[in-house]
């Protein structure tokens, strides 16, 4: 079953537009983002029109040559009156435009921030510099805890509750919705829908320290039955390793500093300082959507996190060359 | 460029009182900016009050007697302050010296009461946000009290030197103006600091 799921996920990746997930507001993949993109183009159109109009008037004012006036104070009342009328008209036009845009904005706001009953509720907690993801489910033995990746069912409303444990972060997946901040001491909430299966990239959008630039996340939208399958898989603890290499890797993992920060459900590693690694190998990326998932990247990250993300809270742990391959196999096998 | 004289100002005086005095306007400017500071600090107090379910936070309300004593003292000081102002406008040296000394003494008593207030707030500045903002607001007002006292002391000293001129009387009047602000700003702050925790 795991094999089937991986195949399904792989085929989604194969069929999405880019090899890397989209992170553009102009590439909307959900109804909220589509609405926002339309709003963006309407505003851009109106504003461009206004700017062009002002530039034309400016150009005309510069090109037309009036006769030299020996006394600068000599003004013609007719010209002054005409200018007053035109300026007055322009002011009225500005006011009407502003009112119209405000109304448009307000109506969009009401529609976009309206809530319906969610199919899935996820609590995302921002930490320096990763995302803790917990699915709220009915029964405690079905808790799904992961990090840096959110799986959602296609076409259904998803509520994400936003909290922060240290500093202010901001949850932003441009192709799905606008951003919302994660503020310590406060719980915020957004709701969005993904229209199509795919992988959508997001990034922290509030300066949060050294590795703000590399605090990415992925939203993976799966058709509902596949999503349910994924939930079931994720709620299970890690299966004990069967082959000797992975067994050795598990020993290395549990004897080094790793267990000081990480949880692998089903083992003695239970710390919540760093991301939950129970199903680490099934993820699309490593280190908050900074590196694509692969054996080589797992090795690189584990050996030198400070080199890839200087200042990150994961220290460089010394791993002997002969320990690296089993450890990587163990981690990659946490499907 | 050649000049064409249209008006002569030689007979104008060199100092004045109230809005004729540029220093009066400078004082008004300081009142505006410091008043804004008070308003914002009070705004922060009200904001934190509104954000917290319980207020005071883990403390009993401050003992209001020191604050009330301050209120009474400051309101009572309005009369000698007005006397100092009147004496200055009359340019009567003897009365100016008298009332400046009275205001100096009252100022020192007020500063003493302010220390007493701090000692009876029933919360520390580092206990929680309620303690922090209470100390902050009271501290802001204390700074104004102390600086105006300093101003008054220097002016009082000056009135005993050879530098007593028309302009000094104008300075005394402007200093009295500033004291009105110190008193007026205490009234709403007193109500807030001692009243809101008791709601």
């Amino acid at each position: 079953m795991r094999f089937r799921l991986t195949l399904a996920a792989a085929s989604i990746l194969f069929f999405t537009r880019d090899c890397l997930a989209s992170q553009s507001t102009l590439d909307p993949q959900g109804p909220q983002a589509e609405h926002l993109a339309r709003l963006f183009w309407i505003f851009t159109g109106v504003c461009t029109f206004v700017w062009v109009a002002v530039m034309i008037v400016l150009l005309a004012a510069l090109i037309r040559r009036k006769a030299e006036r020996p006394d600068p104070l000599q003004l013609e009342p007719a010209t002054e009156r005409r200018s007053a009328a035109v300026v007055g008209g322009a002011v009225v036009a500005t006011l009407l435009t502003v009112v119209a845009l405000t109304a448009l904005s307000y109506l969009s706001q009401r529609q976009l921030f309206a809530r319906e009953k969610p199919a899935v509720t996820i609590k995302v907690t921002g930490l320096q510099w990763w995302w803790d993801v917990r699915y709220e489910t009915d029964s405690p033995d079905q808790t799904v805890t992961t990090a840096n990746e959110i799986y959602v069912p296609v076409g259904e409303p998803v509520t994400v509750k936003l909290a922060a444990n240290d500093v202010i972060h901001s949850f932003w997946v441009p192709s799905l919705f606008g951003k919302q901040d994660l503020i310590p001491g406060q719980e915020n909430e957004i709701q969005f829908k993904a229209s199509r299966p795919g992988v959508y990239r997001g990034q922290c959008a509030e300066f949060c320290g050294w590795q703000h630039a590399h605090m990415g996340l992925l939203v993976v939208a799966l058709p509902s039955p596949l999503f349910q399958q994924w939930m079931k898989l994720q709620s299970a603890p890690a299966a004990p390793p069967q082959d000797p290499i992975r067994k050795k890797g598990a020993e290395i993992f549990e004897s080094k500093a790793c267990i000081m920060c990480h949880t692998v459900r089903g083992t003695s590693a239970g710390s919540r300082v760093g991301p939950d690694l129970t199903h680490f190998g099934s993820r699309q990326s490593i280190a908050s959507a900074t590196l694509p998932m692969s054996r080589g990247n797992i090795a690189a990250w584990v050996v030198d996190p400070q080199g890839i993300k200087p200042g990150v809270n994961m220290p460089n742990v010394s791993i002997a060359p002969e320990e690296l391959d089993p450890l990587v196999s163990y981690l990659a096998g946490l499907q | 460029m050649k000049h064409r004289s249209v008006h002569d100002v030689s007979q104008l005086p060199t100092y004045g009182f109230g809005s004729i005095s540029p220093i009066w306007w400078g004082t008004l400017g300081f009142v505006a900016l410091e008043g804004t500071g008070f308003a914002l600090a009070a705004g922060a107090y009200l904001y934190l009050w509104q954000v917290n379910g319980q207020w005071p936070i883990a403390a009993v309300p401050p003992n209001h007697w020191p604050g009330t004593a301050m209120l009474i003292l400051l309101l009572a000081s309005l009369w000698p302050n007005a006397m100092a102002d009147r004496a200055a406008r009359d340019e009567h040296l003897g009365r100016v010296r008298l009332w400046l000394i009275v205001m100096t003494v009252l100022g020192f008593v007020a500063v003493g009461i302010r220390f007493w207030e701090f000692a009876h707030l029933n919360v520390r500045w580092d206990s929680n946000a309620y303690g922090s903002i209470t100390w902050f607001v009271l501290g802001l007002h204390a700074v104004h009290l102390i600086t105006d006292l300093g101003d008054t002391v220097v002016l009082a000293a000056l009135m005993f030197t050879r530098h007593v001129t028309g302009k000094r009387y104008s300075d005394v009047s402007d200093n009295a103006f500033y004291w009105y602000f110190v008193v007026a700003s205490w009234v709403p702050l007193y109500a807030m600091l001692y009243g809101i925790p008791r709601l």
Binding site: T25, H35, L36, L39, F40, C47, W51, V54, A61, L62, R64, K66, L73, V87, A90, V98, L101, T102, S105, Y106, Q109, L112, F113, L162, V167, S170, F177, K179, Q180, G185, N188, A205, E206, T290, P310 | M1, H3, S5, H7, V9, S10, T14, Y15, P22, W25, G26, G29, T36, L40, A44, N52, E91, D126, N128, F136, G150, L158, T165, G166, K167
Partner: protein, 639 residues
Amino acid sequence: MTVSDATARDDLRDTHLGDAELHARLTRTWRTGSGWIERLSSVDHKVVGRRYIITAFVFLCLGGLSAVAMRLQLARPEAKLLGPDLYNQLFTMHGTTMMFLFAVPVMEAFAVYLVPLMLGTRNIAFPRLNAFSYWVYLFGGIFLWASFMLKIGPDAGWFAYVPLSGPDYSPGKRVDVWAQMITFTEVSALAVAIEIIVTVFKQRAPGMTLDRIPLFVWSMLVMSFLIIFAMPAVMVASTMLILDRLVGTHFFNPAEGGDSLLWQHLFWFFGHPEVYIIFIPATGMVSSIIVAFARRPMFGQLPLVLSLIAVGFLSFGLWVHHMFTTGLPQLGASFFTASSMLIAVPNGIQIFCWLATLWDGRPVFKTPLLFVLGFFFIFVIGGLSGVMVASVPLDAQVHDTYFVVAHFHYVLIGGAVFPLIGAVYFWFPKITGRMMSERLGKWNFWLAFVGFNVAFFPMHILGVQGMPRRVYTYLPEMGWGPLNLLSSAGALILFISFVLLLINVITSLSRGRLAGDNPWDAGTLEWATTSPPAPYNFSRIPFVTHREPLWDNRERLPVVTGLSVDSREVVSGTLTEAYPELRESSPEPSIWPLLAAIAVAGTFLGSIFTPWAVVWGSIPVAITLTGWFWPKGTPEDEK
């Protein structure tokens, strides 16, 4: 109220003196000496104003170099030029320097230099406070940059959001340096604001009724009011931050009843008016230049003045638009959308009146006007992208992205820096007595215009393509590389244009064509005196009959007589009519402002290490302030 006895004694007045003797006596009375102590004691607004301008441009240079370093790092994805720590310090230094050490001080600097001249008076109000404010500003700026050089420079952004800037997540003194630098610059700015208001209210030349006040002066007056009501907010906030970090208060600690959003409210209550503090004076510069180069009085003087005041008021009602993504109630947020869009109306009125003036005028295409034209092109784009970010839902996408970076650089560089450079070309002749090179000026303009647009327009696109702000690098797969490279190239061109400006200034100082009193044939009073002005500004105080005094009185300048020539005197008048009511004495040079600034600087510096510094520091502060105000028996003190 007694008339001063001095009239009866040997107090010589300017009424009957010939030009040569008048000039000689007034120069002796008003001059700043050439010795070290005299120069440090100067209270001449022109001397202080020049120092302010030069210092502000030095900080512009430092802020600009930070930006160049940032753009070099961002030119390529995952570049290894700057690590995250240094980058975070650089973008903090860039924003902090530009906003606190350059943009506001340079506008105040032009006010300090030009407002007394435009008003027809001899010095600014409270000249010693003026000197003091310069020293405090200088010390604050040195404090910040010295800290950066010593690797304790701030790194939490120019806006220093808590909890990141709080004691838990920014250990050490870095953020304390930032917060205290704020105190330096705000004390300085507030002092200058009060001086400007009192100068404009009380020291206008007789006859300069409200409708005859130049638009430049109106803009500086509105700026000063904004400073008075906005800057206390950032002082309160930064003081609270230092207290949280130093003595354990909990203003911003949610675990003990504090709130992170309190910081944002206080900071942006200041922060939004701050950008108008920068922009409104620039509109005054635009107005002056347009009137002079369109060769006609401004169309719509009254609507323009009312618009300036309206913008000033409205600017206090916008601040929440910086907080649209923090989870505030929707209805409240949308009110701020309405107010943020509404401010486009008075800003639009200004633009339409300027266009009407140019339409009916006969434009002279010299460098100052070119920069004003560049202002129109760039600022209107910025204003319109501002209308876009004012919308709550749209802002949800573009907030904290390079779109916003593009927006505010378009309004700040287009709306303030372009007019500022135009102002430099326009008033350099008055300040130095020499013209700047027109040829270099045109090269300056075109490089600045092209460089700016190439640097910043692509950022709009990068923002909507998903690139957030304040990132030291980005992944190659995002596809943001090419536009970032283009932007960095533009930044270099823009930087070169500033180098050209510097070259033009330096070479013109010694080789520029002599300017004469009024090279542009402009109408306002600063052009009625010599270039550079004599220490006393005007040998007799002008009497004003028109909004453009020099266009109304081309043959002879109407003046008032009767001021003393052997002691420093200015005319003080009523608020609306400028009817003379006092011969106000203006303070002589004094070393106390510098000493007081040193005492204040020492207190501020010490207070980031211990709260007791405030207690101990208050002693030298009290001593120097007393020395400052203690009369010295000179005629100016005694009258």
